[in-house]
Amino acid sequence: MVTQIEPYVMLSIVLFVLGVMGVLLRRNAILIFMSIELMLNAANLSLVAFASYWGQTSGQIFVFFVIAVAAAEVAVGLAMIVAIFRTRQSINVDDLHQMEG
């Protein structure tokens, strides 16, 4: 049982921020997507830690759902990235600015 929760939270925040920065700085769609996964996992980490802190399972159940949903997202996301790569021969998100204004 976790009694000292703050370190876990700090860690997950650090991971989360790293993920955010990845999203902001990366140009490759796949890497951006991976950064998002990192953010999700940061959340997962804190969920698990909190579940342990409260001595419950609902947090862990949450984590399962997050993982499952992330998998679904991966499926959709990768399919989309592949489709775009087919039309543009690039998965650089900076090339995606056909619409503006």
């Binding site: 999203v23 700085l25 140009r27 951006i32 998100v93 995606l96």
Partner: protein
């Protein structure tokens, strides 16, 4: 017979019907019918007025209020205490005015049938003329200021319509319609004064009615009336009614026989009504207003009561002494009168108004409408008497106008224009009379002036008519080829184109001469008596009340009288004496009978009209005509009227001045048989040249107005419209600032902020991050990342705002 007063609504109704018939069906009826209908309407009205006059005698000169059988109330706002009925007041003042209006009106109708013959809008002319009568009668019969104002503006409208009657006559169309418009606008300035006067009056007194039912205008008058009636009822038992049906304007004097001081003369017609109706007739009028409560009194009695009490009145947010309020009211009323009666500063419209048909000028712009201002001041005599300040202003305005009008008239070439300025001048006499408190003299002069000025205008119309016909005659016979050249320039009203008409138009000459002499004030014609009374009253005012204004007025009026004689004789000489200066004048025919008869009737009255108010002590004339008949007849309705003194020296002085000036004019103009057609002898003399130029240029009065008022008004108007409203408010404030600014912000936000600023923020934030993460090379921002950082920015804001209170708490 005591119910004759109920006929009063007819005097408005009959001419209205005439006007309506002619407006709607006149075009189909043909000249004969149109002229007859209008004239009959006018004559019928005159008949009704005569009946009203009879009624006055039966009613012991006691005024009555008449309500129309239907349609009684006009404006009635109970919660504001405003109740304006369509009520008429039949009393000696209004009956006097009505007699003048309908009497002269009928004559002018007859004259017009001949004068307007062949005009394409014949029916319109007569409709307007009838309409004018209706409105003028509304004006004089009204029993409150507001109904009076209906007539007041109505006659202004008719004046507008008749001045602009030839609004499309080729060549002068614009000038004519401009003159009409000018007249209306000038009058409107006066009307503004009347409106202000009325609203103030209502705010101070709470009513606009002259006299409520049962109220007497002049209590002192009635007191001796009562005694007298009793006295006479005993004395004149055997006398039967005789001469009533013969009563005409000229014999007004006969009906007013009631002065206690004088023994009743033999005829004693006055007794007839008294005798017949005494027992069964109406109870004698109340002899004073004491028993009536304040709320049931008219505006004049209320003014007297309030003014006796003194103290302050509350008008809206202001509190002022009653005299101040009264002064304001009367000054505004004076403004109205100056508009309608063509006084300084609003007189410049009247000369221009001569653009209308001459008979209309005679009726409207000489005899009746222009005297409305004098009428209303006499009607309001109680108010004016209570405010010395206004009285002084009135006197000065009147005498100055008399002087200015007379002066300008000396330098005019246009026959009608001379008469127009003469009218201005004579109206000045009347106004000055009001100013010195000579209300009776003002009305006296109003009446006599109506006779001789109408006569002069009609005669001048006859002259113009003749010259025009002569011109056509010449043109048809085509004497020489030059005619085509000056065809356009020929002006039948220009006195330089006349001369020698005495022989061609003898009747016209005769009546013109009578009119002229009357206007000059030559004994014993009408003008002499009325003008003399004004002068005498002015002198009396100065003498008795130690009022310096009286002397000033006297002096100015005396000079004006001299001017009058000068310009009138100049006109006689230029028009009728000497030899014809143009072929047109040489071929001018005498006018038709239709036109001559009315002139002769007027000539009669111009000659004898003065005897209706003969002063005492002049060759015993008062024994024949009765002394101060008009004044005493007016006494029943005009509280402040009083019989004037007669000063022999003043009469002689004014006669000398008039005759002297006439002789001088004769010397100047008759000595030069055929003078230069373009220039006046005075203009050619060094000494008088400047003066003449001034007079000819009308003292530059119109130019002055153009420069001070008209042009600035136009310019401001244009500036307001184009610069302020259009360029500034419409284009700049609205289109530029609001509209474009709005669009600009939208585009700025859309293109610059939403993209570039966010971009810039991203770049800035990116720079920080890059520095931290040492990833400088990836500086290009892509759009998804722009969006992501915006999102992140939002997250930071959200979390910070939410956590702020917690952080503060520590």
């Amino acid at each position: 017979m005591e119910n004759l007063g109920l006929l009063a609504p007819l005097v408005v109704l009959i001419p209205s019907i005439g006007a309506i018939i002619n407006i709607f069906w006149g075009a189909r009826l043909g000249e004969k019918w149109v002229g007859s209908i209008a004239t009959i309407a006018s004559a019928l009205t005159f008949g009704v007025v005569v009946l009203l006059y009879v009624f006055m005698n039966y009613n012991y000169y006691q005024g009555v209020n008449v309500n129309p059988p239907v349609f009684e109330s006009w404006i009635n706002i109970p919660s504001a205490g405003l109740n304006i009925p369509w009520q008429q007041r039949v009393d000696s003042l209004s009956v006097t005015m009505m007699l003048i209006i309908t009497g002269i009106g009928t004559l002018i109708h007859v004259y017009s049938i001949g004068y307007m013959h062949g005009d394409e809008r014949y029916h319109r002319y007569f409709a307007f003329l009838n309409m004018f009568l209706a409105f003028m009668l509304v004006l004089v019969t009204a029993n409150n200021y507001l109904v009076m104002f209906v007539g007041w503006e109505g006659v202004g409208l008719c004046s507008f319509l008749l001045i602009g009657f030839w609004f499309d006559r080729s060549g002068v169309a614009w000038r004519n319609s401009l003159a009409a418009r000018k007249a209306f606008i000038m009058n409107r300035i006066g009307d503004f004064g009347v409106i202000m006067s009325m609203v103030l009056m209502f705010a101070v007194f709470g009513t606009l009615t002259y006299y409520e039912a049962g109220e007497v205008a002049n209590p002192t008058y009635n007191e001796h009336l009562v005694e007298e009636i009793q006295h006479e009822a005993e004395a004149a038992e055997a006398d039967l009614a005789t001469g009533i049906s013969e009563v005409t304007v000229g014999e007004v004097a006969n009906a007013g026989e009631h002065t206690a001081a004088e023994p009743a003369p033999a005829e004693g017609q006055h007794a007839a009504p008294a005798e017949g109706e005494h027992e069964t007739g109406p109870a004698l009028p109340a002899t004073s207003n004491d028993s009536i409560v304040y709320e049931d009194l008219g505006v004049f009695s209320r003014a007297q009561i309030l003014s006796e009490q003194g103290g302050d009145v509350v008008v809206g947010p202001f509190t002022m002494p009653i005299t101040t309020a009264l002064t304001l009211i009367t000054l505004f009323l004076l403004l109205g009168a100056t508009g309608k009666s063509a006084q300084i500063p609003l007189f410049t419209w009247l000369p221009d108004a001569m653009a209308g048909p001459t008979p209309a000028s005679a009726l409207i712009h000489a005899a009746t409408m222009v005297t409305a201002g004098v009428y209303i001041m006499v009607r309001s005599n109680v108010l004016f008497e209570l405010t010395p300040t206004t009285m002084a202003v009135v006197a000065l305005v009147g005498s100055a106008t008399a002087l200015v009008g007379g002066f300008i008239a000396m330098g005019q070439w246009d026959i009608k224009r001379v008469l127009a300025y003469s009218t201005v001048s004579q109206l000045g006499f009347m106004v000055a009379a009001v100013g010195v408190g000579a209300f009776g003299a003002a009305i006296f002069h109003l009446v006599t002036h109506a006779f001789f000025k109408a006569l002069l205008f009609l005669a001048s119309g006859s002259v113009i008519h003749g010259v025009e016909h002569g011109h056509h005659h010449v043109h048809e016979h085509g004497h020489d080829d030059e005619h085509d050249d000056h065809e356009e320039a020929f002006d039948p009203q220009d006195m330089r184109n006349m001369g020698g008409l005495r022989r061609r138009m003898p009747v016209t000459y005769f009546v013109y001469l009578i009119g002229t002499l009357a206007l000059m004030g030559i004994f014993p014609l009408a003008g002499f008596w009325s003008k003399d009374e004004i002068l005498a009253d002015a002198w009396t005012a100065g003498l008795q009340d130690n009022n310096v204004i009286g002397y000033i007025v006297f002096g100015l009026l005396l000079v004006s009288a001299g001017f009058t004689a000068f310009y009138m004789w100049r006109q006689i000489v230029l028009v009728f004496h000497g030899k014809p200066r143009t072929e047109a004048a040489g071929h001018a025919p005498e006018s038709a009978k239709m036109m001559l008869v009315p002139m002769l009737v007027l000539a009669f009255f111009s000659f004898f009209g003065g005897f209706m108010n003969t002063p005492r002590g002049v060759l015993g004339l008062e024994k024949i005509f009765g002394p101060h008949e008009l004044t005493e007849w007016l006494e029943s309705s005009v509280m402040r009227v009083h019989a004037g003194e007669f000063y022999l020296w003043i009469a002689i002085l004014s006669l000398v001045v008039a005759i002297g000036m006439a002789i001088m004019a004769n010397r100047i103009y008759a000595r030069v048989p055929v003078f230069n057609r373009k220039r006046d002898p005075l203009e050619m003399m060094e000494a008088t040249q400047q003066m003449w130029t001034m007079a000819n240029a009308r003292l530059y009065w119109d130019n002055f107005y153009d420069r001070i008022f008209v042009n600035p008004f136009r310019r401001t108007s244009a500036w307001l419209a184009t610069e302020l409203d259009d360029r500034f408010l419409h284009d700049w404030v609205h289109n530029k600032v609001l509209w474009n600014g709005f669009n600009a912000i939208a585009h700025f936000l859309s293109r610059d902020v939403d993209q570039k600023v966010v971009d810039g923020a991203v770049n800035g934030a990116g720079r920080v991050t890059r520095w931290g993460a040492n990833t400088l090379r990836r500086s290009q921002s892509g759009y998804i990342r722009v969006y992501a950082i915006t999102l992140l920015f939002g997250v930071v804001v959200v979390v910070l705002v939410l956590l702020l209170p917690l952080l503060q708490r520590g």
